[in-house]
């Protein structure tokens, strides 16, 4: 589209140039060789100076700028990558520390539990021993009491019988004979009375 307009415009412009030539007799100033040498001279001078300044001074600077920017961007990317690697490593380290400390904490907990269990076991043993001792002592005492009980009862029986006899009969009765009777009775029927 642009091309079409462009070529059309060129075509029409040539048409207008013809018109202009028809109207004026001057012709194209471009074809007048009066200033050709001057134009060539100034073209070479200005273009030459511009080329020299651009190629020697300015373009190397621009290319330097572009290069340094590129390299700096690359450097920055590299630095960023390095930092990321660093942080990754640190994260790993951190994870390791955390898992290690978890393990440590677990082991400490286990140790403490074991120790506590051991302590409790030891204390329980001591207590059980004590209790056993006390039970044994109490049993001994009970046994002793039980063993002594018939003797005491026999004594009481003898004394009571002797006092009853004294009051009934009015005469002193030999204690030994009473005790002999009681002993005899005890031997015969002790089991029935005391239920041993």
């Amino acid at each position: 589209m642009v091309k079409k307009i462009y070529f059309q415009s060129i075509f029409f412009s040539f048409f207008f140039i013809k018109e202009a030539f028809a109207a004026e007799s001057g012709g194209m100033p471009q074809l007048n060789p009066e200033f050709w040498v001057s134009q060539i001279f100034w073209l070479i001078l200005t273009f030459g100076i511009m080329y020299l300044v651009l190629s020697k001074l300015i373009l190397p600077k621009i290319s330097n700028n572009l290069e340094s920017r590129k390299s700096q961007i690359l450097e920055n990317i590299e630095a960023a990558e390095k930092q990321r690697e660093n942080s990754d490593a640190k994260l790993k380290e951190y994870d390791e520390i955390i898992s290690k400390s978890k393990l440590e904490a677990n082991s400490i907990l286990n140790q403490a539990r074991e120790k506590a269990l051991k302590d409790i076991g030891a204390k329980r043993e001591v207590l059980e021993n004590q209790i056993d001792n006390e039970i044994a002592e109490a049993e001994k005492e009970i046994d002793a009491l039980r063993k002594n009980a018939p003797d005491k009862i026999n004594k009481i029986a003898i004394e009571t019988s002797s006092e009853l006899l004294q009051k009934l009969i009015g005469a002193e009765v030999n204690n030994s004979s009473i005790s002999a009777i009681v002993d005899d009775l005890y031997k015969r029927n002790g089991d029935k009375y005391y239920g041993n």
Binding site: P29, F35, Q39, W42, L43, T46, F47, M50
Partner: protein
Amino acid sequence: MAANPMSQFDVYRIGPEIKVGAFDISFTNASLFMILSTVSILLIFNLGSKKKSILPNKIQLLAELSYTFVSKMISDTAGSKAKPYFAFIFSLFMFVLFCNMFGMIPYTFTVTSHIIVTFVLAAFIFIGVTVIGFIKHGFGYLKLFVPSGVPAVLLPLIVVIEIISYLSRPISLSVRLFANMMAGHTMMKVFGGFVISLGIIGGWLPLSFSVALTGLEILVAFLQAYVFAILTCIYLNDALNLHH
């Protein structure tokens, strides 16, 4: 200004007449605009290359974008061997572009609308490319005129055509730029003349045309500079990478 649409292309002397031998090298309006173009190019690119900031400012960005634009154009069309000629093609592109663009300002002179200027540039390019071709390939450079895969019967004809097309390169290159510039500026002047002659009632149509043409001419100014530079690259490619 005169009503003649061609009078804008008149070259006139500014200041005294300077003569070196038989040659008149007086300072003219053409010289003035050549100097203006080159000075503004040097100014812009000097400012654009001064600071070395990572984040470029506007003028630095402009310079760097132009640099990468031209360097990409050269590497795309002529390959990596054309790198030593980067500065020349860059200067050429910038010179033509600035001369064209300066011509778009009213009452200015368009340096590139003169056949002698474009022809000198094109002839220099032509001679330079031919010399580079012969230095790089010796007489093998003449193989450029003998395309491979052509039947032997057609070969004489083809060689003649190739030689003619090669020799017409400077003419086509220079006339293309000169004719485009002259035609566009003439057309704008003619439409401007119509605005005046048709007056307040009928002048609006050519005025709107003039406005549209201004946009088109700015496009053409850039396009012709680009075409000039890229054709130079293509010729250079022929000379550097001979493969026919």
